[in-house]
Chain length 367, copies 2
């Protein structure tokens, strides 16, 4: 029985390891490289659970994360974020120590790195296959050629093309995720075909949890880089990527007030714990910041929905209660399944196992 | 010249001290108690700047914050959050050491504290004057009486009525803020009149930055508890509480990519730095997560709007550029004024002064 007094992020290690196993086994069966994104958990301990599944290469989204995981024995890391030129010293140090890959999407950055890198480094050209956040349009062969021309081959080893189809997060259903996957694959495979003669070792890399958890990998895609699946969350549930029972983390929160006249309870658990990420759960017109389920002191119970988190301020969460939540009273605890586990994890900074063990992260690891 | 390589939360100490001075001087002139909310900055160092203005009593929103500030010499603290019964041990310890006030809004909590408190503690009855987050309806005299009847006077000293008009954050203009202020004051003053005979020392306490920064205090109100004004932010600017030049914190972010074809730049600075708090800046139909202004290495310049943060993922921010922002290039830095400084400060965990000095907070203070 855990003694919890204030908002605490719990992890169900069995569920988490099962999620890792499922994705790793799927990649093995389909013979694609599994390079999981570690930005969701940001924990060296959880990283070890991937190693047990044979994972040896990872993805991160900052130089700081690359430094942290390199320190914890990971020697093959892709930083899936546009190169931050201001961190060239840190990149140089990493490139001298591990197999590092960076993303390039402009001639300027290719030129800068060609001049400033002291150790060879791999690079992918980031392709924008529809998300429109970063990357080169797949039709822009001229820019791709000029990046390849600018990149000094003694410093920069071209690894291939990489995309992140974050637009799947806006998909209405699995069919739309499938459509996005097809467009993504067509674009990458066309580029692969175009450049394979010149770069016979090039690979193409995709990676978003909705696609990777719901659909088989398209033939010809070489690498997948999903991250969120390690925990899943309410957003992935609504996208069809997981069951509620597959969500591996929950924020345990004290109930501090009840307002039966408006079917609400107030929990100690706010924007500084869950984050303000929210989703619409149709037909409800109001955004939801989490789902509150039962907590018996040992396990949370996704079969008992007690309420939706319908509002958040800094430390307060407002639960709009279901029938099952009407008996909540101050002093009781509920388990909140987060809308976006990456942001909740980042805010909470560490995990507590159901056995009370503490799992450190980049934020808390003793120096 | 500061050397900044990755997202860094800067504080302009002069602006911050001026904001503190303005609010403290206003309270002095109006002869009301100024009990600032410290949840925005969460820093003992910044707390000292309030002491220089004669502040000796503060507001916090969690037992943890009360512990932190008590350790740093504050001996009169109101925890403006419904009592978390699970932290009764911590509350007992605090009540034995300092003048502590808590909020009560139910008989259950009044009964629990009457039974479990070992040291006397002050309490306010939380009144809901229209925000509908927590509190007793001002018309519910029956509940107020039963709380007062249940509270053991040897353990619980009744201090008065307290409200937070968070509904001012939804106000369309200053007139609506004025209307909310009037309703709030009417309700509290009616209660004050009703109970003053029985409790001649009772006070009524209000506190939200939009009201306190824009309007004189209504006669009869005894205490104000604003918090956000210490930094202000884009939300307060849009509400009319401050000028852009009064915002005391800015997140300095590297530019990592530019996409001139869609007038966008990508910055290293995302939801884990700014938070996903956003606002609508009419007539723009899309939410805004921050305003990017110029940064010359020594100061930010609110007169030069470079872009709006129109999208955020974990580490990425998307800037929709103004004409002035069209020359941004990877490797340059911009200053982002946050939409909600409380959440950005909480995420960034510490502040860097323009002189490079580091200001610790509850999250980073050496144990």
């Amino acid at each position: 029985m855990l003694s919890i007094k204030k908002p605490t992020l719990l992890i169900n290690i069995d569920i988490c390891k099962q999620n890792i196993h499922n994705m790793a086994a799927g990649a093995r069966e389909q013979k694609v490289i599994f390079r999981p994104h570690f930005k969701t958990h940001q924990s060296a301990t959880i990283g070890e659970w991937f190693r047990e599944e044979g994972v040896s290469a990872i993805t991160v989204s900052s130089v700081s994360m690359a430094q942290y995981f390199a320190k914890h024995g990971w020697d093959n890391i892709t930083i899936a974020f546009p190169v931050n030129l201001l961190e060239i010293e840190e990149i140089n140090l990493l490139a001298s120590e591990i197999n590092l890959q960076v993303l390039i999407e402009s001639e300027q950055v290719a030129g800068f790195l060609s001049e400033k890198l002291r150790s060879a480094c791999g690079f992918f050209i980031k392709i924008d296959t529809g998300y429109h956040r970063t990357g080169v349009k797949p039709s822009n062969i001229q820019l791709i050629d000029s990046i390849l021309h600018t990149a000094d081959p003694l410093k920069l080893n071209f690894k291939g093309f990489l995309t992140h189809s974050g637009n799947t997060y806006q998909a209405a259903d699995r069919n739309e995720i499938f459509q996005i996957q097809q467009i993504t694959a067509e674009n990458l495979l066309r580029l692969k075909k175009h450049y394979l003669d010149r770069y016979p070792d090039l690979i193409v890399s995709v990676g978003d949890t909705p696609t990777c958890s719901q659909l088989p990998v398209v033939t010809g895609i070489d690498e997948i880089r999903p991250g969120n699946f390690v925990f899943f969350d309410v957003m992935q549930f609504t996208l069809g990527s997981c069951r509620l029972a597959d969500i591996a983390v929950a924020l345990i929160c004290p109930v501090v007030a009840v307002h039966p006249n408006r079917n609400e309870a107030v929990i100690y658990g706010g924007a500084v714990h869950l984050s303000k990420e929210n989703i619409l759960l149709t037909p409800d017109p109001k955004p939801v910041y989490g789902l509150a389920v039962g907590w018996d002191g040992e396990n949370w119970d996704t079969a008992t929905l007690l309420g939706k988190v319908s509002g958040l301020s800094q430390e307060h969460g407002i639960l709009t209660l279901t029938q099952a939540g009407c008996n909540l009273k101050p002093g009781m605890l509920v388990a909140v399944l987060p809308v976006h586990s990456c942001l909740t994890s980042n805010l909470m900074r560490k995990y507590t196992g159901l056995d009370g063990s503490v799992i450190e992260t980049i934020h808390t690891w003793p120096a």
